[in-house]
């Protein structure tokens, strides 16, 4: 690992397990509340699960891979840039798509949904770039 990679301050590999653990807990929480085992308000369940999901995706994104080298660093940075452009693109284009299909120019997507979709786009980009290089 070179100096640039050390300066990136990525989390140790162990955090991947923690991230998947949080994800599983979120799914379990949704299942339990849907099956009425837990009687919690729907809005609270949505907030907790979306925050948990965001946290686990963030941990996955900033956790070191088993082998971290300059090529993976480059892929990581390109994927981050691509997901940022995707996010901005979605915010710009979404009102026009709404106008086209719903006759409504207002954007109804929340920040959490946008961030989750940006993270998913990031992981998709990393997967594609790793396969093509």
């Amino acid at each position: 690992m070179n100096k640039i990679q050390k300066d990136l301050l990525l989390l140790p590999v162990l955090f991947k397990k923690i991230a998947f653990g949080i994800m599983v807990l979120c799914v379990l929480f949704v299942v339990l509340s849907l099956s009425k085992v837990l009687t919690i308000e729907k809005g609270v369940v949505k907030t907790i699960t979306s925050s948990g999901l965001l946290m686990s995706l963030l941990l996955l994104a900033i956790t070191r891979n088993k082998t971290e080298d300059e090529r993976t660093l480059r892929i990581r940075l390109q994927a981050f840039a691509a997901s940022f452009i995707y996010g901005v693109g979605v915010v710009i284009i979404e009102p026009f798509i709404n106008l086209l299909f719903d006759n409504n120019f207002l954007s109804d997507k929340g920040v959490t949904e946008l961030l989750i979709s940006m993270f998913l786009f990031y992981f998709l980009m990393v997967f594609i770039m790793k396969r093509n290089r």
């Binding site: 080298d69 300059e70 090529r71 993976t72 093509n132 290089r133």
Partner: protein, 66 residues
């Protein structure tokens, strides 16, 4: 940029995995460099040249489009 890593590996009887281990990168990175899909940094090029006891110019060669 062309390179002769594959030939140098064959001379030294090194697998991609073994070379990757020596210079602390992944096997996929070595594969990408060999197939000219990834241009390594100066540091990595110097590490590769050190493994093969050759100068960087003997392993990497500029092409017209570079």
């Amino acid at each position: 940029m062309k390179n002769t890593i594959k030939i140098q590996r064959a001379i030294k009887d090194l697998t991609q995995e073994a070379l990757a281990k020596k210079i602390s990168v992944s096997r996929q990175t070595i594969n990408s460099i060999e197939k000219n899909r990834y241009v390594p940094s100066t540091v990595l090029a110097l590490k590769i040249s050190e493994v093969f006891d050759k100068s960087v110019n003997e392993i990497f060669e500029l092409e017209d489009e570079d």
